[in-house]
């Protein structure tokens, strides 16, 4: 039984670290938020394992549920204000803010150049 607990805690701990890293490193903001919500739910499980059901309840309800909902509405508004799609700005960590509307990302520039001149662009 103790071994099972140890294994469960180890899987939980590594999943938390992995989810946290993925949420921080994801260039897709929508994906990052979904990962953050998953992180919150697993964190609630970790609080239960630490015998803190009060904190677990608060974490699941506020940390995962409401913060996730708030982040998703914020993302929707960011997209609306910058005229972008659903936060799907792959390959660009700064998501849908105004800066990358003015400066298209490197891939897009490359594609534009290709279309205009028909020659290979080196960079």
């Amino acid at each position: 039984m103790t071994l099972l607990h140890w294994a469960f805690d180890a899987v939980l701990g590594f999943s938390l670290l992995w989810l946290a890293w993925q949420a921080l490193a994801s260039p897709d903001l929508f994906r990052a938020i979904v990962l953050f919500i998953a992180f919150g739910l697993l964190m609630a499980l970790a609080w239960v394992r630490l015998d803190a059901p009060d904190v677990a309840l608060a974490e699941a309800a506020i940390g995962a549920g409401l913060t996730g909902a708030l982040l998703l509405t914020t993302l929707a508004r960011l997209d609306k204000s910058s005229g972008r799609g659903f936060g799907r700005t792959l390959g660009h960590p700064s998501g849908g803010n105004n800066r990358d509307v003015i400066h298209p990302s490197k891939k897009e520039t490359k594609a534009l150049h290709k279309k205009d001149t028909g020659t290979e662009v080196h960079d």
Binding site: P53, D54, L57, A58, A61, I62, L66, A69, L70, R77
Partner: protein
């Protein structure tokens, strides 16, 4: 890209070194912690009788350290003030909700309100309490807002504001009355400490639920006549 990478290399090494120092420091701190640290749990257990509730977490949050909870409610209210002063007029919903969202919200919202009430009541003797109940209430509000429901303009003026400040207001009134009665700040008389905690938690649950749902709406609702 490679030039930029070269320029960043010293910074990256510095970052790695700093992170390594931080990890080592944290590891050392955790490993040197005493394995049995009772902290303040013994005084809490000793005074649990006088607190009016049997759940030690609620006793700490609403009685022994009630001042912290009072300030937390204040912070939550301030956050809403900030959002309301920043945001523009609320926009209307673009599309009607799908049948799943519509049906599920009708089914879930009464349950969520019931669960919030249970968590509030259970907080006296089991895990639960105002913040948990309030956030479940807020989840019901978020679900309703997602389906396109908006508070009637008759209620979005003074009634909404009253419910938003009710938690902090009741807390402050209780504190002031207790001081006027000759006690110290938020020092409940043991005979009706339980009733006072329930009163404060009930008002706080309503306020927390309304504040979090209002934060989700993200703008000040327009008040009508």
């Amino acid at each position: 890209m490679t030039e930029r990478g070269k320029k960043q290399l010293p910074f990256r090494l510095l970052l790695v070194a700093l992170l390594f120092v931080l990890t080592a420091g944290l590891g050392y701190a955790v490993l040197t912690l005493p394995s049995q640290a009772p902290g303040l749990s013994n005084p809490v257990v000793a005074n649990l009788e006088a607190s009016g509730v049997s759940n030690p977490v609620t006793a700490v949050l609403l009685n022994f350290r009630a001042y912290d909870t009072l300030l937390e409610l204040g912070v939550l209210l301030l956050a809403l003030f900030g959002v309301w002063s920043l945001a523009a007029v609320p926009e209307c919903r673009e599309s009607p909700p799908g049948p799943v969202l519509d049906g599920l919200s009708r089914l879930l919202v009464p349950w969520l309100i019931l669960v919030a009430g249970y968590l509030l009541w259970a907080g006296a003797h089991a895990p639960g309490g105002a913040f948990q109940a309030g956030s479940v209430l807020a989840a019901a509000g978020v679900l309703l807002l997602l389906t396109g429901w908006r508070l009637d303009t008759r209620f979005s003026g003074l009634p909404l504001r009253m419910s938003l400040v009710a938690g902090l207001g009741v807390f402050v009134v209780v504190a002031v009355v207790l001081i006027l009665m000759g006690g110290r700040l938020l020092e409940y008389p043991p005979s009706f400490a339980g009733a006072l905690i329930l009163l404060i938690e009930a008002a706080a649950t309503l306020s927390i639920g309304m504040t979090l749902a209002a934060l989700f709406l993200g703008a000040r609702p327009e008040a009508g006549p």
